[in-house]
């Protein structure tokens, strides 16, 4: 199964998502859907003003969207907000480590899009991720 998109690392994040849940209250929360396939992701973040101190995601959807959100949680937990803002599409794709086809790109990027929308208060365009 080595040629599959669904490698063990992805499936592990899907089956055992990191930082899954919600934070009430959170310093900021955002949620969005991918209208093409109905993926839903919400991300709650607490900060001390400079760093992400706690972060949780919730939602439902395909394995790629949920695993990518879980991987994103590991990338941002405890990191300075300025570094989180700088996380790019390529950074997340590197962490995913599998080739993402254009059809699945929106699924893979949904978590990052939601996180940035939470930070900036408005959803970023797909190009600016």
């Amino acid at each position: 199964m080595t040629d599959s998109l669904y490698r063990e690392a992805i499936l592990d994040h899907y089956r055992n998502p990191r930082n899954r849940g919600t934070l009430e209250p959170a310093d900021f929360s955002y949620e969005d859907v991918n209208p093409l396939c109905g993926d839903e992701i919400r991300i709650d973040v607490r900060t001390d003003g400079e760093n992400v101190t706690e972060v949780r995601f919730s939602g439902r959807g395909c394995a790629i969207s949920q695993a990518a959100a879980s991987i994103l949680m590991e990338m941002v937990d405890g990191r300075p907000l300025e570094e989180v803002k700088a996380i790019s599409r390529e950074d997340l794709l590197d962490e995913l480590g599998v080739p993402i086809s254009p059809a699945l790109m929106k699924c893979a990027m949904l978590g990052l899009k939601v996180l940035k929308a939470g930070i900036y208060g408005v959803p970023p365009s797909d190009e600016s991720l």
Partner: protein
């Protein structure tokens, strides 16, 4: 034209060989198992050649051209209209309006017949299983006219609740819009019965034929349909081709859809009069080459025979249902009886998201669709976010079904904890 007939039996592998796109091997050497014809069909050599020849030999704007080339283009365009009329047994080719797709055909009816005839408080009836293209145009019209919009419920077996339809008709429905075949469930709705019930109640009927006209014999005179909308690209024709059938008496009384060249009789700055049908509804230069391609597609399907097409898909669907039932944790939607359904199979596989199922099948060069299939109210009714959908056509063979089934087993293996 079609060379695949052998002693009146059809060699479906040779039919498949008419489709160039299915001949090229995928990334891992596997042939494409194309199981998404409900979204759009592939095109046979005969259709591709007809379009190619039009651009090489006959291309010119139609109507009013005095030179030979324009006359030939016009003749071919109108010949395609006759082919399409013949294909659905319309009484006259004037009852065929060329459009881009089913969506445009339905919007045409909503914006012309609908705007003229629907009044505040009138009832428009659709169904819970309609594609958004046979729902949104009526929503927009109902909003504009302050009319009521109600949807016929469906039963748990994926068929329409005809008692509910009767109840709604009893409330004085002005218009009934329904899909001949559901694009998600595959249900073949009892169109003759529905149309008779609607007519008895004085309602006009719009049939969404997008999933029926390509796949089974459809006779508009037998159905007594007032309007029938269908897409050329789902019936082996070019993208951007489609047709609206309307009874001549209804079309004649309808105002224009879009304004422009070709749809007028006499024009002054402040006032104009309209061309006869169907030209009245074909403003601007039409997609002539695509219409000619659609005519070639109708001719190709007629050469096979629509009874044979339907039987081929019924046999494939029967086999597919039997094989899919063996896959653990699969849930198939729609009627169980293959005689009551077309070659469209929607299912869920345990708790694996349909998008993941489709992505895993894609790794084996098997093309299926995953999503809400433009039927969000139906997905809500079924209690799912999305389904995976496999759909069949003339070029599918048993091997495609077998590959689908083994692909689903592979998906289960990948997701097994």
């Amino acid at each position: 034209m079609v060379t695949a007939r052998i002693d009146n039996a059809i060699d479906w592998v040779r039919v498949r060989d008419d489709f160039p796109i299915l001949a090229s091997p995928g990334p891992k050497g596997q042939r494409l198992a194309f199981l998404d014809s409900a979204a759009s069909s592939q095109k046979p050599e005969q259709v591709i050649t007809a379009v190619d020849r039009y651009y090489r030999e006959t291309n010119a704007n139609i109507h009013r051209g005095v030179y030979d080339l324009s006359e030939r283009a016009t003749a071919q365009y109108e010949a395609a209209r006759h082919m399409v009329a013949d294909f659905i047994n319309a009484a006259s080719a004037r009852e065929i309006v060329f459009v881009r797709n089913t969506t445009e055909a339905i919007n045409l009816v909503a914006q012309t017949w609908g705007r003229r005839n629907i009044r505040p408080g009138d009832l428009i009836v659709v169904t819970t299983m309609d594609h958004h293209s046979n729902l949104i145009p009526w929503q927009l019209l109902a909003e504009e006219k302050e009319a009521r919009l109600e949807a016929v419920r469906i039963m748990d077996d994926g068929t329409l609740d005809l008692h509910h339809l009767q109840e709604l008709l009893g409330q004085g429905a002005r218009l009934v819009a329904f899909p001949h075949v559901s694009n998600s469930l595959g249900t073949i709705n009892p169109a003759p019965d529905i149309i008779r019930m609607a007519h008895d109640a004085g309602a006009v009927v719009v049939v969404d034929g997008a999933q029926s006209v390509p796949h089974m014999p459809v006779d508009v005179q037998h159905l007594d349909a007032d309007f029938l909308a269908f897409s050329g690209h789902k019936m082996l024709g070019p993208m951007g081709s489609g047709a609206l059938y309307g009874k001549l008496s209804l079309l004649d009384a309808m105002p224009p859809f879009m304004g422009g060249g070709g749809m007028i009789r006499k024009v002054s700055i402040t006032r104009s009069t309209w061309a006869d049908v169907p030209a009245r509804f074909e403003a601007g230069t039409p997609s002539v080459g695509d219409a000619i391609g659609l005519g070639a597609a109708a001719e190709y399907l007629q050469a096979i025979g629509m009874d044979a097409v339907r039987e081929h898909e019924r046999v494939l669907t029967t086999r597919a249902i039997e094989c899919l039932r063996e896959v653990p944790e699969i849930q198939l939607f729609g009627p169980c009886d293959p005689d009551a359904r077309a070659g469209v199979l929607s299912f869920t596989l345990g708790d694996i998201h349909p998008h993941d199922v489709a992505a895993i099948l894609n790794e084996e060069n098997i093309a299926v669709r995953a999503g809400h299939h433009c039927c969000q109210p139906l997905m809500d009714r079924l209690g799912v976010v999305a389904t995976t959908r496999a759909s069949f056509y003339v070029y599918n063979v048993d091997e495609d079904v077998d590959r689908l089934v083994s692909g689903l087993h592979r998906a289960r293996e990948i997701f097994a904890s």
